[in-house]
Every structure is written in C-alpha cells, then in structure tokens.
C-alpha cells in the first residue's frame, strides 16, 4: 500500500495544489488524493459520504460500496486519472486504488453561440472545449442509432484525448479503418495542435491546403457526418475536425439548405466567384497594367494610365506592397483585443483609402482592386480555406508579373493541378461526395 501511495505522492509532490487527505470510510482508513485546483473536495466528500450511507442501508460491504463509487485501477492509470481531475481513494489496508468522479471545479464555459463563424439561419450552438460536451452536442443534433464513437488517448508524456465519430450507415468502412489505424500507429506521438494531428494521420505538413475541415457548429459537423465523413474531436479544442476535406466544402454550408434552391445555388456560385476573383484580380491588375495593356479598351487604358500617373514604382511592387499592408491589417486586427481593434481598422482605412493615393504612392484603381479582393476572399467558408486562397493569390501575382495574362492562366492551371493531386485516405480532394456508394463527379 505505502508503495503506491508514495509513488503517486512522489509524482505530484512538487505541486502546491496536490493533496493527500487521510479519512475514514465505514471506519476503514483511506486516503483521498487529487488536485485542489480541479476538485471541490468538501462537496465531493459529502457526496461520497451520502452515497455510502445510502449503500449501507442495503447492508452491503465496503467492497461493494467502493465498486459503486468507482473502479479500481493500477498506479499508472491512477496517476493519469488524477491529472484528468479525478479523485483517487486509496485503501490503507489492501493497497487498492479506486478512481472516482468528484465534484469538479467549474472550469468549463457553457455552450455559447459561435465566435468564429456566423450563422445566418441555423442552430446557434457551438462546440466548447470539453470533449464530452461536444459529443453530446452531436448526439443531440443527430438522433441516429448508426452514430458510432471511438476514443483514444494519445501522447506519452503529454496526454490528449481524441474522439472519432462516424455514421455507420453512410461512411465508407475503409476510411474509418484507415483513420483508426493511423491514429493507433501514432498513439505515442504528442498531439497538441492540428499540425501535429495532421502529421500523426500521415499528411505532409507542407501542403498549402489544410487537411481538415474545421467547424465550430454542431449542425455543420452533423451535415458532414451524414455525407459520410469522419469527425474528430480533440480535447480542449473547441471545434470539430472533419476528414477528409474536399474542395467543394469551401463553398457549401449546411445552412444553405434553409434557403430555397435557387438562392442556395446563387449563394454557392457567389462563393466560387469570390474565390476566383481573389485569385485572379490582383494578378490581372499587374498583367493588364504592365504587360498586356492591349486587352483593355482604350478608355479604360487611359483612365488607368491617368490614375497611375506619378506612381514611382512598377505595378508589381505597388501591388505587393499594398497587399502586404493589407495582410498586416488583417493580422493585426485578429491579434488585438476587441477594444483596440477598431483603431486598426480606422487607421488602416485611412491609409488605404486616402493617404496612399493622395501621396501618389499607389494608384486609386489599385485600392479598388484591393478592396474588391479582400471582400471577395471573405466569401469562402472556413478561415483556413481563406488563408489558402490568400496565399495562392501571391503565386498568381508573381506569375502574372512575368508572363502577363499567360501567367495568370498558367497559375490557374497550376493551382488546379495541385488541387487535383491532393488525396487524403485515397479520396481525391476534388470529389463531390464521399459516401459509401462512391458517387463520383470529379
């Protein structure tokens, strides 16, 4: 007995908030072990006492009582359970460790509306940090007996819980098996963020397209489940990770289906158009201004020439400078606390809107193009997709500045080819759907 106790104590002795409390249950001396920071001890004790009193009434032995309170575990598991915020009851006599669920300190936020995604028409719940709560949210959304979930604990020194959800009737069996196999093979690796998770799943970490579709909305997660995808939850990560990610996900939302079909199609086309505009427009500006002005109508050509009069550097430098300033503004407003954020917007707006043009540093047509590009970028679904498109835009600008319109076109070919070459779990990125029947349209 003492061996166990001292082993656990040694592990956590240097933590101020670790406690060992000697107590008695049914006149048997026991030790309570746990963290003050995670457990509300007083309440827990009362609870346990009440439970035991209740069981005594049925004349059960201490043994039975303890099995009712929790399950017995070896030292390794017990130590892990302490970290997870469980209470350990150690019997002094026969060296047993019982892990029980205590009354925990309120460390989780409640279920709130999403902060990173906007919902126009649809359910407003969003995932939180707690894994169980997230699973529960999904279960509430989809009342199906086919929903399956599987949990893993990964990492050797830094443990992390991982849950996998899928609908048995619509998901390809092979996909699920592959995902499970990969996770199990990499169970030793520490998974703290999406990048390490992607690595554990065997993806190259250098791809510019994010391998997961990330959503905060249970509604969307369920939508993907129904379409035959696999949903992963990482403990303390307040979003669902959807596997495999497909190109079409950038443009399709479940809540679109709350509109009549023509509107839905129009909305989706708009998003596709937005993505294309983002990719093409800055490049087109460089190409038309610097390399192929013959494409423009003369009136347009003259007014562009007029707006560029006195601008000291070539169009390529001009647009790169302004694009970078714009990216800085975006990044800065994401970093700053909400109270100072508007300042950045205002200062940025003044810089971009007026001062630069008046100082003859860039042409005012460029400002229009930048604004249009930024607006268009934001129509794409999912922040990580937006980043991808933002990055691709630069490749297009560079190509356009070398080959003009030919550069834009070949940039599009390059991007298309890149997207076409991506595969995750042998499902190509360009698939429309990945249900069991393999309805394939691209």
């Amino acid at each position: 007995m003492d061996a166990i106790l001292s082993e656990i104590t040694n592990k956590f002795a240097e933590n101020e908030d670790f406690f060992i409390e000697r107590s008695e249950l049914l006149d048997v001396p026991v030790f309570f072990l746990g963290f003050h920071s995670l457990i509300d001890l007083t309440k827990t004790k009362t609870n346990i006492q009440r439970n035991i009193n209740h069981t005594i009434a049925t004349k059960a032995s201490l043994e039975d009582c303890l099995t009712l309170l929790g399950e017995e575990k070896n030292v390794e598991d017990a130590a892990l359970s302490i970290l997870e915020g469980k209470l350990i009851i150690c019997l002094e006599v026969d060296s047993k460790c019982i892990v029980t669920a205590p009354v925990s300190k309120p460390l989780n936020r409640s279920i709130e509306p999403p902060t990173n995604e906007n919902v126009l028409l649809g359910s407003l719940n969003s995932f939180t940090e707690e894994l169980e709560a997230n699973l529960g949210l999904v279960r509430k959304q989809i009342l199906s007996e086919h929903l399956r979930s599987k949990s893993f604990t990964v990492g050797r020194t830094q443990k992390k819980k991982l849950s996998l959800l899928y609908l048995e009737d619509s998901t390809d069996r092979k996909l699920v098996q592959q995902v499970i196999k990969r996770i199990e093979a990499n169970q030793e690796k520490a998974i703290q963020n999406i990048q390490s998770l992607a690595k554990a799943l065997g993806f190259s970490s250098w791809g510019i397209v994010s391998k997961f579709n990330i959503t905060e909305l249970p509604q969307e997660a369920v939508f993907y489940l129904k379409k035959g995808r696999v949903v992963l939850f990482l403990d303390q990560f307040p979003a669902a990770l959807i596997l495999p990610k497909l190109l079409w996900d950038m443009f399709v939302l479940e809540s679109d289906n709350n509109h009549p079909a023509p509107m839905m199609i129009a909305l989706r086309l708009l998003r596709i158009f937005g993505a294309l505009i983002t990719l093409i427009l800055p490049g087109l500006y460089v190409a038309l201004v610097a390399i192929n002005p013959e494409i423009l109508q003369i009136e347009l050509a003259l007014s562009i020439a007029k707006s560029r009069e006195g601008v000291p550097y070539p169009a390529f430098v001009e647009i790169i400078i302004m694009l970078i300033v714009l990216e800085l503004i975006l990044e800065a407003s994401a970093r700053l606390p909400k109270t100072i954020g508007p300042t950045i917007t205002m200062v940025g707006g003044i810089i971009l809107g007026q001062a630069v043009v008046e100082a003859k540093l860039v042409s005012n047509l460029l400002i229009i193009i930048l604004a249009a590009t930024t607006i268009a970028t934001s129509t794409v679904i999912g922040f990580q997709n937006l980043l991808t498109i933002r990055l691709c835009k630069y490749a297009m600008v560079i190509l356009a500045s070398i080959f003009g319109v030919l550069g834009i076109i070949s940039g599009l070919v390059l991007i298309s080819a890149y997207l076409a070459s991506i595969k995750s779990f042998s499902i190509p990125f360009l698939h429309i759907q990945s249900t069991k029947d393999e309805a394939d349209h691209g």
Partner: protein, 356 residues
Amino acid sequence: MMVKFVRTSLLIICITLPLSGCWDIKDINHRLLPVTMGIAKQGEEYEVILQIPQPTQNTTKIKIVKETGKTITQAIDRISMNMESSVELLHLRIIIIDKETAELGIADILSGFIRAREVSSKTLLVICDEELDSFFANVNGAMESENIAIFDFFEKDKGWTPHIVLTRVWEAFRSIHSYTIDVAIPIVASGESTIISHVGSAVMKKGRMVDRVTSDESLLFNTFHGEGAEGKIEVMDKASVLIVDSAVKNKHQFVDNRPYLQCQINIDVVILEAQKGATNEVIKNDLEKALSNRFKELFAKIQANKADILGLGQYYRSNIPRTKLKEWRTAYYPALTLDVQFHVDIRNEGYIKNPS
C-alpha cells in the same frame, strides 16, 4: 520522400523560375497609346502623324507628333526615340490616310499592319480630303476642350450615322486579295463648326482609291449591306422621313456568261416632316423613285470603275469556276445588269395624321 521532394521543388521552380526576367514589363503610364494615326506618302518616305492622348491630372491633353521614315515602323521608331515613353500602337482606333496616298494604293501599309499584329485588325480606315497637317491641327484645335472625340465620330453606339461607311483594316485587307469584293472608305475633312465633317466615301479597288461617292450614296451603300438605314433622315423637297428598317432581297441569275441581278430593297420609314399636300402616297412614290435613281447612279459609277464595293460578285461564286473567278472584276462585273427596286412602307406618321 524523394518523389515528394522533386515535386515540391518543381512547384517552386514553376513559381519562382523566371523572376529574374521582366521582359515585357512596362507600366501603362510609361507607354504612349496613340488613338489616331495619319499616314501620307511623300515621295519615297512615309509621313506618320500620331495623335496621342496624354492623361494629366484632370483632363486629357492631346499631343500631335510627326515624323518621317522609309517605312511606317521606322517613322514610329523615330517618334519613340524622341519621346519620353515608348509609342505602342496597340490601341490605335483610326488610321487616317492621305487622299493622294490612297490613290497610290495602301496594300503594303495594310499587310504590314496585319502581319505585325500590334495594330488591331479592327482599326478603322478613313481617308482625309485635305492635307494631313492642317487636318490634325484643325481637329486638335477644336478638340482642345473635349476629350478624345475623333473616334467617337465612328463609334456605333456614339456618334456614328448610317452615312458613314465603316471599314476596318481586315476588311480592306480582304478586299485586296479577294476576287469578288471591294470596299468603300469614308472621307473626312476638318469641319468649320463641328470637329470633322464627312464628305463622302472613297471607292477602293484592290486597295487603291479610284473614285468617290457622296454621303447620300454612302447611305445607300450601307442600306444595301443591311446595316444601314436605321435612324437616318432622308430629305426630299416635300418631306423628310426616318428609315427605321431595311431589308434587301437579291435574285441572281447567270445566263450565257452574263450575270443578272434583281435587287429589291424594302424600306420601312416614319414620317418626320411633311409639307402641305404631301400625302403618304406622294411621299412613297417620290421616295421610291428618288432612291432607285440614286442607286442606279451609284451603281453606274462603281461599275464604270470596275470596283465591286457592293460585293455583288459574292452571289456568283457558285456559277463561275474558281479559275475564272479571278477575272470577275474585269470580265463579268462590267457586264452585270442590275435591276433595282425600292419598296417603301410608311410605318407610321407620328402624332399628326397625314392624308394618304
């Protein structure tokens, strides 16, 4: 792993490879984009006048530059050399050719434009009735205050009227090599109160100006080609009408190596002005008579010149074997008998009733 590496590096090469080169980069504000070019041949040398709009703060100034050279390219090169930015003919809209030069022939000039592709083949051709120098000077003086107006004159959705024959570089080029079609090119001069005035059309035969027709005859020419008459006022002593629609029906026959053409032109008009006593019937008859007389005159004139600007030879392509088709202009065209009939339909009389 290697595969991935090769792929990634290829991708990087694709993107960054020729960053070293900026061959074509020349920003639009460092290019001079002339909209009008005047060409006159003086002895062995070409004189080229360019009208270049130069955007400044608030208005667009128009600059006129002149240079001579053995070829047009040389002349333009010389201009480029002497200007602060390079001259690019990408946006040329109108080529104005001196009358004497047109009479000498413009075939070489045109094929040069088509070959180099810098000048768009959609550029319009115009012949100038006066000295190019004075024309440009006058036009520029008149245009001082306004923006680029000279090509607006020929733009279909702007200042164009059906009296003006529109001929583009490619059409003129086609006519030089085609066996059965010629073109007409509008003739302009600088106007007194207006910027330019339209004086008629030149009849071009194989790229050479052989005769000229009046403005009214040009209207008939356009009517014959179907794109004409819309919205044009036709004045007679008694009334003026607006042609709203026109349709041409041709019946061609080829008997004994002689072409016959029966041509019926249906015109829908709206009455704009009518003097007292001019009934619908009178207007209709007079108009029909006047138009067919005018058309006959036009045809007699172009037939005498052996220039097929109406493109009548097109109808006989199946009748004449290809080897003989080459001789259309000389052997068959002068023998062509044309019977033209105008049929006028008065669609309405406006707000005021007119006696029929």
